[in-house]
Every structure is written in C-alpha cells, then in structure tokens.
Symmetry: C3
Amino acid sequence: MPSSFTTNMRLKFPILAISLEILIIILFAVFVAYKDSTHDDHKQASNDTSTISSVRFSQLYPMFQDVHVMIFIGFGFLMTFLKRYGFSSVGINMLLAALGLQWGILVQGFWHLHHGKIEIDILKMINADFSTATVLISFGAVLGKTSPVQLLIMTILEITVFAMNEHLVVEVLQAKDVGASMIIHAFGAYFGLAVARILYRPGLKNGHDNEGSVYHSDLFAMIGTIFLWMFWPSFNSAIADEGEDQYRAVVNTYFSLAACVVAAYAISSFVEHKGKLDMVHIQNATLAGGVAVGTCADMNIGPFGAMLIGLVAGIISTVGFKFLTPILASKLCIQDTCGVHNLHGMPGILGGIAGIVAVAMGAKVGGSYLMQAAALTSSVSIAIVGGTITGFILRLPFWGLPPDQNCYDDSIYWEVPEEEEENEEGLAHGEHSNNKAEV
Amino acid sequence: MPSSFTTNMRLKFPILAISLEILIIILFAVFVAYKDSTHDDHKQASNDTSTISSVRFSQLYPMFQDVHVMIFIGFGFLMTFLKRYGFSSVGINMLLAALGLQWGILVQGFWHLHHGKIEIDILKMINADFSTATVLISFGAVLGKTSPVQLLIMTILEITVFAMNEHLVVEVLQAKDVGASMIIHAFGAYFGLAVARILYRPGLKNGHDNEGSVYHSDLFAMIGTIFLWMFWPSFNSAIADEGEDQYRAVVNTYFSLAACVVAAYAISSFVEHKGKLDMVHIQNATLAGGVAVGTCADMNIGPFGAMLIGLVAGIISTVGFKFLTPILASKLCIQDTCGVHNLHGMPGILGGIAGIVAVAMGAKVGGSYLMQAAALTSSVSIAIVGGTITGFILRLPFWGLPPDQNCYDDSIYWEVPEEEEENEEGLAHGEHSNNKAEV
Amino acid sequence: MPSSFTTNMRLKFPILAISLEILIIILFAVFVAYKDSTHDDHKQASNDTSTISSVRFSQLYPMFQDVHVMIFIGFGFLMTFLKRYGFSSVGINMLLAALGLQWGILVQGFWHLHHGKIEIDILKMINADFSTATVLISFGAVLGKTSPVQLLIMTILEITVFAMNEHLVVEVLQAKDVGASMIIHAFGAYFGLAVARILYRPGLKNGHDNEGSVYHSDLFAMIGTIFLWMFWPSFNSAIADEGEDQYRAVVNTYFSLAACVVAAYAISSFVEHKGKLDMVHIQNATLAGGVAVGTCADMNIGPFGAMLIGLVAGIISTVGFKFLTPILASKLCIQDTCGVHNLHGMPGILGGIAGIVAVAMGAKVGGSYLMQAAALTSSVSIAIVGGTITGFILRLPFWGLPPDQNCYDDSIYWEVPEEEEENEEGLAHGEHSNNKAEV
C-alpha cells in the first residue's frame, strides 16, 4: 500500500486543525474588534447612528440566520444523498464552514481595515458565511474522494483566492453581483471542478458501489434541498441595499425559484425512463433558479423576467445532470460527485450572462455591461487557475487521500455504528478491507 | 390493463407542467409588477411611506419565512410517514406549492388590481403561500392514490375556488378569519375529502401493504410536525394588523398549541392499547390547537381562552383519528390517507364556531357573529361543491391514475434506488409488478 | 414482576397530564393577561410607547422563534441518536417543553406580578422557553430510563426550582448570566445528574443492547445538533439589552461556536482509535462553545476572548465524553445517557468561571465577581439538592418506571410500526419480552 494511502488521521488532522485555529485566534486578537460606535465616521452627522445601526442589525439578523441555515443545514444535508457518506457530508460540511467563516472574516476584512482593525458587523458575518459557500460548493465536486486534511487545506486556499476575486469584481471592476451568481456559484463550481480534474481517479471510471443513494438518504438530502430553496431569497438579498433593492431581490428570487421547480420536474420526467422523476434532479435542479437569478436579483427585471431566468436554469440544470455529467467524467476526466457543474456552474454562468444583458438594458443604475462581462470572466478564470494549483497541492502524497475502494465511505474517517446482526457479516468484511487500507 | 392505468408520465406530465408555467409567466408579464412607490396613493400624505413600507417588509419577512417553512418543510415532511411514499410526499408537495404560489398571486390578485396591475408586496407573498396550504391539505386526503398530473389540475382548480371563497368571506361578508381556520383549514379539508369521496377505491377497503409507516419514516414525519407546530404563531399572525392584533395572534396561538400538545398526548395514551402513545396522533393532533385558534387568534379571548380551544381541539382530533376515520372510510366511502378531517376539518369547524362565539361575546370590534356563521357555512359548502366537481374532473380516464396495487408506492412515478443485496430479490419482484402496471 | 414495573400508562399518564393542564388553565384564567398598553407605567412619559413596544416585539420575535427551534427541534432531535428511542426523544421532548413553557410562565411570572397579573410579552415567552431547557437537559441524563409520568413530575418540580434559583441569581445577587451558562446549563445538568444518581440502575452497569446508534439515527441527531449550533447566538442574546449588548452577545457566540467546532473535531480525532471522528463528540462537543460563552456573551471580552472560551470548551467537552463519562458511571454510579455533564455541566461551569474572571477584569459595567461566584455556587448547589429530592420522589414505586431490559426502547410506551418481514421474527420476540414486562 503506497504511503499516499496512509489514511490514519490521528496526528496530522488534529495538529493541522488546532494549529490553524490558534493562528486564527492570534490574528483575531491583533486585527478583529467589535464595531465601536465612538469611532463611527458618520457619528458626527447624527446622534442617531447607534440606533439606526441597531435597527439595521435587527433587520438583517433574521436574514443572516437564514443564510446560516443554508450553509450548515442546506449544503450539509444536500450532500447526504450518498448511502454511506452522510456523516462526512453533514459533519465535514460543518467543520469546513466553521473554519472557513473565521478565515473569511480575516481575508475579506484585510481589504477593509478601519483604524487598522476589522470591525465586526452583521454584514461582515453574512459575508463570512458567504465565503464558506464557495468551499462547500467545491466540496460537492470532490465529495467522497478527499480526506479531511485535504479539505482543511482547500478551505484556507479557496477562501483566500475567493476574497481576492471578490475584491477585484466588487471594488475594482464595480460589477454588480448581489446574489453572487458569479463570485460564489460559478467560482465555487469551477474551482472545485479544477480540483476534481487534478485529483482524477481512473479507478473510479466505472463507478463505485457506494456512489449511490438509498431511500432514506435521499430523504435526508431533501432536508438540505428545501432549506436551501426556501431561504434563497435571503441569500440573494442579504447584502442588497436597504429598501427597493432588497425588496426586489427577495421578490425576484422567490419567483425565479418557483418557476425553476416546475421546469425541473417537467424536464426530469421528460428525460427519464418512462417519465419517472429522478431524485438527483429534484434535489439539485430545483435550486438552479436561485443561483441564476443571483446577479440580477436586485435589478429591475420584472417578476416575469426572474421567472424566465428560473425556467431556463431549471431546464439546463436538469439536462446537464442527465447528459453532461457523464460526458465530463468520460471525456474531460472530471468526476463531479454532486454535479456542482449543473447546479452552480452553468446556472452561475447563466446568471452572469443575464446580468450582462440586464445591465446593458438599463436594469441597474450605475452598472456597466462591460464590467459585468469582465467580472464573469475573472470569476471563472481565477477559479480554474486557483483550483488547478490547489489540486496539485492536494495531490501531494501525505494528506491522507483515501484509496479508490474506500471512496464514498464514512468508515474510513469516522467511527460508524455496527448495524443489525443480519448485515454484520457483510460489514465486517467491508471493515476488513478498510483496515487493510489504513496502514 | 385499462387505459386509465397508463401511468407513464413521460409526455402528459411535462407538457402540462411546462404549459402551465409558460401561461403563468405570460400572465405575470401582463399583470404583475413590483410595488412602485411612485404610484403609492398614500405617498402624497407623507414622504416617509417608502421607509415605513420598508420597515414593514423587514418586520414581516421573518414571518413570511416561517410560513414558507411550514408550507415546504412542514406539510412536506408531515406526509413522509408512509413507508414507501416519502419522495412523493416531500417532492410533490414542493411541486404543488411552487406552482400554487404563482397561481395564487394571480387569482388572489385579480380582486385587488392597482392601476391594472397586481403589485407584489410581502403580504401578497404570504397570501400566495397561504393559498397553497389549501391544496396541500387536500393532497393529504388523497395522498398515495393520485398521479402528479391529477394533482397539478387539482392545484389550479382548488386555488381558484379558494380565491373566490376568500374574497366572499373577507371582502363581501367582512368576516374575521385571521388564522384561516375556515377559509384554509376547513376549506382545504372538505375540498380534499370531497375529492377523495369521488375517487373512492373499493379495492383498498381492506387497507394496503404500503399504507403504514416504518420507524424512520415516522421520525421524518416528526420534522414536519414540529416545524408546523413551532411556526404556527407566525401563520396565525402574519396578516394580522400590526401591533396589538398581531401580538395577540402570536400569544394566543402559542398557548393554544401548548395546551393542545398535552391534551393530544393524554388522549392518545388513554384510547390506545395499554396506554401506549400513537405516532399518528402525536404527528397530527398536536397541531389541531393551531388550526382551531385561527379564527379568533387576534381576538381578545384571553390566553386561557386560547388554551381551552387548544385543549378541546387536541381531544377531538385524537378521538377523530381513533374512532372517526375508520367510520368515514367504511360508511361514507371517504378514504382520508392523512386524516385531514381530524387535523384540519373538525378543528377548522371548531375554530369557526369559536369565532362565532367570540365575536358574539364582543371579543372583536367590528365583527358580526352572523357574518362569521355565514363565512363558516360558505367555506365548507363551497369546498364540498368545488371538491366534488374537481373529483369528477380528476376521475377522467387519462390523467395517469395509479392502479390499486401501486398506491402508496413512490416507484410508480419516481426512480427509486435499489436497496441492499439481501432485499433485492423482493424488490425486483415488486418492480416487476410495477412494470406490468405501466402500460 | 414487581409493581414498580407496571408500565401500563393507560390511566396514570392521561389523568396526570390532563389534571396538570386543567390546573394550569385555571391559574392562567386567574393570573395571566395580555400586556395592556393602557396600564403601561411608561405611557405617561411618551405616547409612542405602544409603537416602541411593537417594534421591540418585531425585533425579538425572530430570536424567539430561533430559541423555539432550539427547544423543539434542537433538543428533540439531538437525543434521537439512540437506535430505538427516537419517538421518545423527539416526542417526549415536545411534551415536556409544551407543558414546561406553560408552567414556566407561571412560576417565573409570580416574581413579577403587575397589578396582580402576569402580563405576557415576548420576553416572558422567551424566558418560558428557556425554563424548559433545564428540563430537557436533565431529560438527557435520564433518557431511556424513565417513564413519561416520571418526566411530567420532573418537569413541574425542576422548573419550579429553576425559577427560584433564577430569581436568586438575577434579582437578589444581581449576577450577570445573559446566556445562562449557570442558571440553565449547569443547573439543568447537575439537576439531571443528581436524579440519575438516585435512579442508578446496577443492572445496566455493563451497558444495554439498545444503548447505541445506527447510521441513520446519528444523522437524525445531527439535525438537532446543527439547529442548536446555528441558533445559539439567538439563545445567548435574546434577553440581552438592546443595542451593544445584544450585538456583542451575537458576535461572541458566533465566534466561540466556530472555534469550538474546530477544537472538537481535532480532539475527537486525536483521542479516537486510528484518528477517526466519533459522532458522539461531533453531535455534542461542537455545542460546548455556546454553553461556555453564555455568561460573558454580552461582555466586552473581544471576539478572540470568545474564541478562546470556545476552544477550551470544545476540548474539555470532547475529553469528558471520552474519559470522564465512563468514570462517572463506574465510580460515581451516575449513568448519564447523553453525556449532559460534558455538554452542559462542565462547559456551564467553565462559563460561570469565565464570567467571574471577565467581571473581575472589568468586562461588564456594574458586575461584581463575588456575586458571579455566588451565582455559580448557588446554581450548582440548588440543582444538586433539587435533583436529589426530585430523584427520591421519582423513585416512588408507582410512576411506571421501565424495567432494565426495556430501557432505551420506544416500544414500551409507544406503538411502534412492525418492520419488514425479515426482521419480524426477531421483533416479535422482543415484543414478547415487552409484553411480559407490562403487567
């Protein structure tokens, strides 16, 4: 057994995790502070500032919690569809998001220091949660084929690159992307696909016994799907400007998602054997409308415009799952476990293009369609480059990469409960092959 | 095999769904607009209108999201209790609600055009979600015995009839029903029971192998129960007048539900074999307090009054599940899969009666107990007539109705994952009989 | 079979439950009223009072709902990890919380009568939910080894004692405990552990077949874990003073929890066999940061201070699960089913100590470290005394205590669905031994 398959995490995982946490705490001690109203630049203009800020906090806090639910329940349970990988899906999702949000505060905050400090407010917390979404999307592409150590490293690297691209898009290019179709969804998807390309496993070309769902794992996944679906209006509107913009972002996302659901069901039935619905499509393509309407969520595109975007997103996402994912795997050597290309990649690009068109048609005051196009190009390009480099780093032989036969199996990194007696023989057998893999 | 059992959905389902969606998008393009503050009639009176409206949006948005969770998670998972019908329960629930809320915006909005437009605001979105609740309640009555095509048709018809009855009750009769005991719960229940009556299946008189739960399906259902239970105060107060009324609606619902839980547990134990608790009662009757307190939620009935309503609702609902449901099936030929008569029907009528009494006792300024009685009568009558007509339409032989032996079984309309090897033989057998049914 | 094992609940449970509910409704009729703005003492000062109060209601309502989710979904599902005790975990949790919140309104409200009435407002509802948390924590210590009747009694007794200690700590000692590390977490844990000590079962010294999880029960438990984790900032800030204090309570809890997750994962891997992660640690120790930062949540401890507290809490909680729980059981005869000592006990004490230190260092204006120390001492002592007395009451032989062999098994108090055919023989056997136990 080659040393690259030393999957025992006993030392490397705890040491890396605790070291990162201590490093982060030190950086927080030096750079992070509460928002201090006595330093507030607007204070001079009005003595109501603290009240207004407090009202804004109360207004945004429920949206922050909705986003929080999307990150921890939504992404976490969406990935529990695999029959033997639920612990990792929801558990490692939690770990990466908890680490990532701390790191996100730092790398996003370094662009916006205030008297040398990163001052925490509710928007920074929302953005920190957002930054973890990129990693969780990429996690979907490599789900079941990576070790916790690899994923910790990916979290740190990807959020760092994300913060740079976000700064470029939002501050330098001044592009509009309120719901982050480009800077989160397309970025996270292509970053993850690039990593998956570098970590390509020829041994899984013909699939894997564990790469499928069981009845109840599909129901667990629906918990993730539905919480993501419901709270997407909060995701797309949380950092919008108060008032009209935020209102439009909620309304557009609500209707885009509703239209997307109908489209995804219709196309799923249309492309499947005997017109049956496929859970993979329902769990994922129903959400594409939220991704695709992101960039223009706060723009004046009309409710029916949002619905058209949702309709198209639902169609291309479902078709992608059915026809494109197999081609990506066989022709481009990209094994995309959760089909993030169909849920985040293509709909993210669709969102970016819709944003270019909408801005060109004057749907957003102060927008420039050239800058929108530059933002889309930048997000996808930087993601691919960043993901490729990250992939090579993750391919180094000492990160505890699982061997092919142990992919999609929690028991290599988790204590898994013994099942009922009738299955024990089979499991003991599986356990045995695991043991061999753990040198 | 008769043609009425042509359950292949490949063409009819996608064509119907996409056609409806395109029709809706066209109607949205013509009739639906953002709320435009420059058209606002109150604008002249105050230049603070947009700010006030924005504040109201922020205040109601969390309640809207609570209602959203009730519709998509609550109703969806509540129905996952069946052992082999979880995909349909949560998945078709999502489809019907996503379609229904779009249709609800239109048919509710046509009564309230503003400069020829339906102007979307947060209250319209809450009401759109509400309108879908009627369909989801009716869905419970016919769960497992209808095709997705039938259910799409029921969604369009029922929401249309609901919008007419709602207009009659709220605008014409000026009756009070803030938590919609009458116009949603009683309406949805009796509509669904009428449909179930027309679709009566003598072949299921002696039950069906799949008409029961397994251990984990009952736990999935509890996710639905508890989210419904927790957020019911939002449901009953979301459209109440700001201030005292909304506050009372929250408080009354909170206490009614708490008392209802204790009553449902007590009676469940009392009527069951050896004093054991029955999951069917716990999943459903614990919610009857929310239904029954709906009409008087914002009235001055006192917290103890709300608790009395909850107590009675919990008792009659549990007793209904135990003794009335079997009688409905055997004597009245109404096979009520989820027992919506016990959760929404009787408690909805109880709520209507409580409203009549409360208004007669002066608990609501401006209310008339005669109008309350008319509203209750109207809601139940129109539901029964509407449901009966809908039932006859759904009985037409080309909607893909499942044959008796495939009822309560996802695999007729869904790709269902193969189970572990030891069960494969049994499932392959089941699959075979499915195949026979699909001509 | 001794009479103490008469587990038939048919009469004693319904009679006790309904009697308690009727008693509570009568007390509500006499003592509980809506908040009446015309009685408001501040009314004279400003005619904006009702508006302000309404705004405050809207601001706190989402936090109230977050706490509600923690109580009913969070605690309920967290305990579903046991393979055959999910109905009781989530179901009895719901019952105890619904009863407890009504009782909590009364026993907390008697300290704050207003014109002879308990006037309900959103803070009282939040505090009522809080009071049930103590019972749900204690429930975790005795999970699987108590009857519903015993638990109803424990609910009434524990919340009564809690309300006395809370009054002592908050009003008499004027100690600070905004997130209730001491008065809820440490109190609930040591109360429950004292009960568990008195109800010690030597027959379970060597464990029990049902005292473990299966794969999907661990996933259900993660639903509880993650909702608790996400909404903990609401728990710790809901009753904080508006503005800076509430803001700090959210921020500190957010970061403490994030640091705690990384620590819990790291230590779980470090102490487990081959570096594998253990679901028990992930489900529980990830939350210890929320418990431990409770007392100083609204204090000026800095985000990095909060993270240090979370880091330490995650470490001691995980270590406690691994090494301390077995010692408690074998040496101190305390069988702590859910390990509440590790999640609520030690982190609660850590929180109390952190509060003493923080107040001593001036992190809270008006705080006294001596009073903090007195509050911690009082909370733990009163909990142990109250729990011991409660334990002796619960040990009386007529409360339907389950015999050892039926512990951790829903089927003794619940109708449990029959499983698939291949298991039926085994279950029928189990059913038989149950039947024997039920005289």
